[in-house]
């Protein structure tokens, strides 16, 4: 873990019996690399844009905060931790689910990417010295956001029903 230290010197003036005494207080703050997912959408509905047997698609925006060190980076990834159920419909495990990414800060994935059930796949990466809020080299927004647009081919083979899967977002400092 790489830590960044800031030292703050504080001068305190004290008056006692006609004398002025000065004391110095040093404050040290260790700002460690940190990442946090602030919010995720409860449900992302994948709907058809119209027309038979086209695609189902929907978008979900993740809000997050991240602070990387000068020698570290960050990564936002996803994994389908529970595949679509009940049976008879689409299957992420069979490669039916793909996504593309957009980000308010950082570098979005180069999609479309096939979502996986066994491994995490990239949504966004954050470079060294990334930080959230304030603008400049940091993101303008706090929290910042990343959006994935998920797509499933609408295959006649799917049985009529409502299918649910769970997608898990993970953010980490590398």
């Amino acid at each position: 873990m790489v830590a960044t230290y800031f030292y703050l010197g504080v001068l305190v003036a004290v008056t006692a019996a006609g004398q002025t005494l000065t004391t110095t207080q040093g404050l040290s703050i260790n700002l460690s690399p940190l990442a946090k997912i602030v919010s995720t959408p409860v449900t992302v509905a994948l709907v058809s844009p119209g027309g038979a047997f086209t695609t189902f698609s929907g978008s979900g925006t993740v809000n997050l905060r991240i602070r990387t060190a000068p020698a570290s980076s960050g990564s936002l990834q996803v994994r389908i931790t529970s595949d679509f159920s009940p049976a008879g419909g689409p299957s992420a495990g069979s490669g039916d689910l793909t996504y593309t990414c957009t980000t308010g800060y950082g570098s979005a994935c180069s999609g479309p990417i096939v979502a996986q059930t066994a491994t995490q796949t990239s949504v966004a990466t954050y470079s060294a010295s990334a930080c959230t809020g304030g603008g400049g080299t940091c993101s303008a927004a706090n929290p910042t956001s990343a959006t994935i647009t998920l797509t499933i081919a609408d295959r006649p083979a799917y049985q009529t029903n409502t299918y649910n899967a769970t997608i898990t977002y993970s953010i980490s400092i590398l």
Binding site: M1, A3, A16, T22, T23, T24, Q25, G26, L27, S28, I29, N30, L31, S32, L34, A35, K36, I37, V38, S39, T40, V42, T43, V44, A45, L46, V47, G51, A52, F53, F56, G58, G60, V62, I80, T81, F84, G89, P90, L97, I152, D154, R155, P156, A157, Y158, Q159, T160, N161, T162, Y163, N164, A165, T166, I167, T168, Y169, S170, I171, S172
Partner: protein, 169 residues
């Protein structure tokens, strides 16, 4: 006299990842659907003998997803624009009794219309049906037309429009 004291305070923010993961539910509602593509833009009806029927074939591709219980799917056809100009054949107002535009059906999957059907300008007539829990992707079918060759028709080229409708429930 008090001695100045040097006090060093260190505040360390421990790298605690308060939340590193988050989850969402992906939800997709798969309903009944059907799609048809007519692959023959213009079907030429031709006759190979004197006053023999004019015949031709229209090809199409279709897909179905019907409900698992009590579902059904249909393909139907209607002459939505009768032959024009006047003086030739007519589906809505045949110039002679017995003049018809008839057709037979062939489908790769499902049940084709039975025997020879008479096309109508006022209502849809059957081409094919499928049952419940049908999952058909890009199957092919065709309609073979047969138009009475009535000597009363004036010479000319006549056009009509046949509209295919597919539905699923």
């Amino acid at each position: 006299m008090k001695t100045p004291a040097l006090l060093l305070m260190i505040v360390a923010i421990v790298p605690v990842l308060a939340q590193t993961t988050g989850t969402s539910t992906l939800q997709v509602a798969v309903g009944t659907e059907a799609k048809i593509t007519v692959n023959t833009a213009t079907t030429a009806l031709t006759s190979s003998m004197a006053f023999g029927a004019y015949t031709g074939t229209t090809n199409f591709t279709y897909s179905f997803r019907t409900a698992t219980a009590n579902g059904t799917g249909t393909i139907q056809v209607q002459i939505t624009s009768d032959f024009s100009p006047a003086g030739g054949p007519s589906v809505g107002t045949p110039p002679s009794p017995g003049d018809t535009l008839a057709y037979t059906c062939t489908v790769g999957t499902g049940t084709a219309c039975s025997g020879s059907q008479t096309a109508s300008a006022s209502s849809q007539t059957s081409v094919a049906t499928v049952g419940a829990n049908a999952h058909i992707a890009d199957a092919t079918g065709s309609v073979a037309w047969s138009l009475t060759n009535d000597p009363v028709y004036q010479t000319g080229t006549y056009n009509a429009t046949a509209t295919f409708t597919i539905s699923a429930s």
